[in-house]
């Protein structure tokens, strides 16, 4: 039986891990390679680096981090952040990463996902979706929003993509919208419909982050996770909001996610990966121990 995956995520800026990581016995707790090794030893199933380096000129730094990591750690490695072109993807894969996670570039040009999947295979194209609950505006306002957003996203005028806008609301009259720029910029796109579209264009996996829950430590947005997991047939990684091990359990059971991504509960050593897996195993969730 396929094991559910536990994936620690490291935010890397200019080659250094930025959020606090409090492992003991690390020579350098800011070095992504040292931390990757520590998670490897704990039995992490995969590792994700989110490159938050602001300038595109400094992309070489993350390539070097990937190269050094792939010499030491033999598990799947995903890199996200600032990936804009086929060349960016090629450089990362060549350095030793297995999957790339694409967020903003997919929103600005959905066909980029198709081109990337055709070139490198769906298995290495992860689409990251940042979703947030919003109150939908009435029909007239919607038309205005589409006009507004089409200035930056010309593709929204294509018939193929029209259905992505405002598909419906949940029982509280809310729906999930795709945001970019760390949850600051709404794109008026329905997050569930977007996930389905990304699968259709060739994404091999969805990394789904609730911007409402991110950093709250009160658990994943289970409804969102469930809605996306049920809508697509590719694996879904739940992200945003883990504060304890029960949250991971909920995401993988009620939320039906295939994998759980978490950052702070592992970085601050509240729990080890092994403890998380033991907790899940006791409750009947298949994990690799």
């Amino acid at each position: 039986m396929l094991a559910r995956r536990i994936i620690p995520c490291l935010d890397v800026k200019d080659g250094r891990v930025v959020k606090g990581v409090s492992f003991v016995n690390l020579r350098d707790a800011g070095d992504p390679v040292e931390i990757a090794k520590a998670y490897d030893a704990q039995g992490a199933d995969e590792l994700t680096f989110l490159d938050i380096t602001a300038s595109h000129e400094k992309r070489g730094i993350i390539i070097d981090v990937v190269k050094r990591t792939s010499e030491q750690v033999f598990m799947p490695l995903t890199v996200g952040g600032g990936i804009k072109s086929i060349d960016d993807i090629r450089a990362l894969l060549k350095a030793g990463c297995d999957k790339v996670s694409i967020n903003t570039s997919a929103v600005y040009d959905p066909r980029f996902i198709k081109a990337a999947a055709e070139r490198f295979g769906s298995q290495c194209i992860v689409v990251a979706i940042d979703a947030k609950r919003t109150v939908p505006v009435p029909d007239a306002g919607r038309a205005r929003q589409i006009t507004e957003v089409s200035e930056k996203l010309p593709w929204v005028q294509d018939d193929e993509f029209r259905s992505l806008f405002f598909q419906g609301v949940d029982k509280n009259g809310l729906h999930w919208e795709v945001f970019t720029h760390g949850g600051r910029q709404p794109k008026y796109i329905d997050a569930v419909a977007w996930a389905v579209k990304m699968e259709e264009l060739g994404a091999g996996e969805i990394l789904l982050t609730s911007m409402d829950q991110d950093g709250q430590k009160t658990g994943y947005d289970i409804e969102l996770t469930r809605a996306v997991s049920d809508a697509v047939s590719i694996p879904v990684i739940a992200s945003g909001g883990v504060g304890n091990l029960d949250h991971i359990y909920e995401g993988l059971t009620e939320g039906r996610a295939d994998a759980a991504l978490a950052a702070s509960i592992f970085h601050y050593k509240e729990y080890t990966i092994k403890e998380a897996k033991e907790y899940l195993k006791e409750r009947g969730v298949p994990v690799r121990l």
């Binding site: 396929l2 792939s70 033999f74 030793g96 295979g121 298995q123 290495c124 590719i234 690799r288």
Partner: protein, 208 residues
């Protein structure tokens, strides 16, 4: 020296670094002569079946692989490097493979009998167990029932079931590695399977 065939598909660095980690020299190359001169050869690969086969053909490497295997030297295929050994694959239409092993490469059925505990998504992505059917020297020290990393939507169906070295359960039982004469080829990724995987790379390097 172990030659890792570079035909423009996927992450080859991890394969090379994996061998180096366990003390074997390995080089990534698309040079036909270097591949023919190597003691051992690895055909890795991720991506689409037809693309990979086209790339192999375009670089003149399809014949090189056939020659290496015919010469009796130890040969290892990984992921698509397993699938390409068979006669044909049905990914994006039916395409011819190298035809070195008899059998086909087929897609997981869209509707595998899932339940609340396990929904069978495609690709089959993540860690799954292998059941050892016929232990080759390549699996020296590898635990029966151990976890390996998989990422694929298609699997091989050998005509001769006895070449199955391991099988894996994912809605159905499929052949997750084969062993025939000097060929060992796995659907899973030893270079991404931590300790268990490195054992296979080590054992391959030690084969006489």
């Amino acid at each position: 020296m172990i030659a890792i065939i570079d035909y423009g598909m996927g992450n080859l660095r991890s394969v090379q670094k994996g061998f180096e980690k366990v003390g074997h020299k390995a080089g990534v190359t698309s040079d036909r002569q270097k591949i023919l001169d190597a003691d051992k050869v690895v055909l890795p690969g991720v991506g689409a079946f037809a693309d990979c086969m086209n790339n192999l053909d375009r670089l003149g490497l399809a014949d090189t692989v056939r020659k290496v295997i015919a010469s009796g030297r130890p040969f290892m295929g990984i992921c698509l490097g397993l699938q390409l050994l068979f006669e044909e694959g049905e990914e994006f239409g039916v395409h011819k493979g190298l035809g070195i092993l008899k059998g086909r490469v087929v897609r997981f059925p869209a509707e595998l009998p899932g339940n609340n505990e396990q929904i069978y998504k495609i690709p089959h992505m993540g860690w799954n167990r292998i059941k050892i059917r016929n232990r080759p020297p390549h699996l020296k020290g590898v635990e029966d029932g151990g976890f390996f990393y998989f990422v694929h939507s298609y699997y091989v169906v050998p005509q001769d079931g006895s070449i199955a070295a391991t099988t894996t359960e994912y809605g159905l039982e499929f052949v997750s590695s084969v062993w025939k004469d000097n060929i060992f080829a796995a659907q899973f990724h030893p270079e991404k399977s931590q300790e268990q995987g490195l054992k296979i790379l080590k054992a391959f390097g030690e084969i006489e």
